[in-house]
Amino acid sequence: MVYGTCGLESLCGPGQHQNQRCSGILGTLLTLSQKQQQQQAENAAGAAGKKKKVTAAQLRVQKDLSELSLGSTMKTDFPNPDDILNFTLTIDPDEGMYKGGSFSFSFAINQNFPHDPPKVKCKEKIYHPNIDLEGNVCLNILREDWKPVLNLNAVIVGLQFLFLEPNASDPLNKEAAEDLKTNREGFKRNVRSAMGGGGVRGETFQRVLK
């Protein structure tokens, strides 16, 4: 077999190197390219080939964003619409103990997405058993249970759920969890007070009422 010794027919096209005995893959590619280089130099003058390509992370985020279903209780804000890797998500719960509040989360996605999960932090100082005073969020799929098959929608649904069902059993804010466990009514009052910018157990919270 002469044609196709390199196995790269799809690139080379049949018969192009019948007289070119080449060494390995490289040889095939190089001997071929020598012939074509001149022609390409002429073509290259037109369309430049050094534009930056859309990165794998961007591609994936674009896809995730186009599949996002935010509903009426959530909205996004992109400080720079050309940068889709950094944005803010605002959740306005319409039921549950946090109803009436407005909570914003910063999303920072790196170029290693979706191998790495997005970094999500709550931008306000709030009273919540699963969100600490620094804004760290305890949500399994943001850390130990993250998998590249998960998408941004899953994260957003998870965040929404935190406001419907705050989880007292594995808290980040121990005091809030203690309140929720021992005195649900008291906890509710504390949530209202904190959302209004009041203090709970000597800690002052940010006003997040709409």
Partner: protein, 438 residues
């Protein structure tokens, strides 16, 4: 079994005596080699005529540079952004104590040049992302010795994106190696023809993590205390200082925080070394494993450059392209074909060239997708690398990008630029290279 003689190939002093062993084997037809591959001079010429790029001048990179130089390659480039640390010296054998703090690429290049006569090594001390396609186009192939998945994904996507079906020279084989302790793997990628780094992403297990709430409230292991200090305590107490994993004062601070927390919870076992390991995510690394994996990578490079024996990934797509090595319990290798994924976001949908009229408005362009036979998209969202042209599904982005609809394409993209088109109806995004009709 004919034997071609190797004529004097100009090599400085004109002698090939130095390459006696290598020349002999390349000059003889091997029983496993493709009989159509040339032997002798023509095969050897390939070694000295191609430019090779090595990414990384660390544990694998040092070995790769040495091996390529002693495989007869003469024009080698190397990229690395790092400087030399004392903990590199147990395996990165081109560096000495006196080199600590200098750039790896520079020191490695000079060392191999001085040791192996006739080889030229061009270092670049910086990031791979600093370089554009024109730069990568000059090389015949790329050998990677990296410890970062992100960098691997970047070079992989770049090389896949460079493949131009009209130009065989645009296909740059990528040889990649990785190690951990006594284990490692090496693989050969023919971009667009065989499984790429992105196809193989699921073979790299994400780093195991512990729930944040465990760290915050119910730590049980010394590592939990360290992670707590790292992720929570630092932000609470030293928010204004950027944590530098290489600053001993910072590590010491984390260590003492973790130690105190461990004492509070009666957890034994926090050490300084463990603190460093957890915070920096240190992967054990030894000279011998690097030697194995780097040599395997360079052996593949040598085989496909000379044609002296079949290399991994060749012929595509069925040939074995991946070798794993494990030395923990005796020695095992597993050499297999990792299959290309049809829905790979990088190599599963190559950019198609699309001729457009630059005077079209974006609106007209968006609407045209409803009619394109391969797409028929109702709600396409469109981006280039640098710009969000139009995003339909997110209200705020739609609002922000709506003004673009009235703009001419020539105002938004340049001739030859790549765009990605996504739609809720699509499994993967389409990529197009927009070429202006003149």
């Amino acid at each position: 079994m004919d034997e071609t003689t190797v004529a004097d190939m100009a090599n400085g002093d004109g002698s090939r005596i130095k390459w006696k062993f290598l020349d002999r084997i390349v000059s003889r037809q091997g029983p496993f080699a493709d009989p159509d591959n040339p032997i002798g001079e023509q095969a050897l010429q390939m070694l000295s005529s191609v430019k090779v790029l090595v990414i990384g001048a660390g544990g694998l990179g040092c070995e790769i540079l040495k091996n390529l130089a002693l495989s007869g390659f003469t024009d080698i480039h190397v990229i690395d952004m790092d400087t030399i640390d004392v903990s590199n010296l147990n395996r990165q054998f081109l560096f000495r104590q006196a080199d600590v703090g200098k750039h790896k690429a520079e020191v490695a290049a000079r060392f191999v040049e001085s040791r192996v006569r006739g080889v030229k090594i061009t270092p670049y001390c910086g990031k791979i992302q600093d370089k554009d396609e024109d730069y990568y186009m000059q090389f015949a192939f790329v050998v990677c010795g990296l410890d970062s998945i992100e960098a691997r994904r970047w070079i992989n996507a770049t090389l896949v994106g460079m493949v131009d079906e009209e130009n065989p020279d645009s296909l740059k084989p990528l040889i990649d190696g990785g190690t951990e302790g006594f284990k490692g793997q090496s693989k050969v990628i023919l971009p667009t023809m065989t499984s790429c780094i992105e196809c193989q992403l699921d073979l790299h297990a994400p780093r195991a993590a512990v729930p944040l709430c465990t760290l915050a409230t119910i730590p049980r292991q010394p590592q939990h205390c360290i992670e707590w200090a790292h992720i929570i305590a630092w932000d609470e107490e030293r928010k204004d200082i950027t944590l530098d994993n290489d600053d001993p004062e910072h590590i010491t601070w984390l260590y003492q925080k973790a130690l105190k927390r461990a004492e509070d919870f009666d957890i034994p076992g926090v050490t300084y070394s463990m603190t460093q390991g957890v915070v920096k995510n240190i992967i054990p690394a030894i000279a011998s494993t690097n030697a194995i994996i780097a040599a395997s990578c360079c052996n593949e490079a040598f085989k496909f450059a000379t044609g002296s024996n079949p290399s991994l990934a060749y012929p595509p797509p069925d040939a074995n392209n991946y070798m794993t090595y494990s030395g923990d319990d005796s020695i095992y290798t597993y050499t297999f074909t990792h299959e290309k994924k049809d829905d790979c976001p990088v190599c599963g949908n190559l950019a198609k060239t699309m001729e457009i009229d630059p005077s079209w408005t974006l609106q007209e362009f968006v609407e045209s997708f409803a009619e394109r036979p391969e797409a028929q998209l109702k709600k396409p969202s469109i981006r280039s690398e640098a710009k969000t042209l139009y995003m339909q599904s997110i209200a705020s982005l739609e609002e922000q990008t709506r003004p673009n609809l009235a703009k001419k394409l020539s105002e938004l993209v340049s001739d030859g630029e790549e765009i990605a088109v996504s739609d809720p109806a699509l499994q993967i995004s389409f990529k197009y290279k927009l070429v202006f009709k003149s």
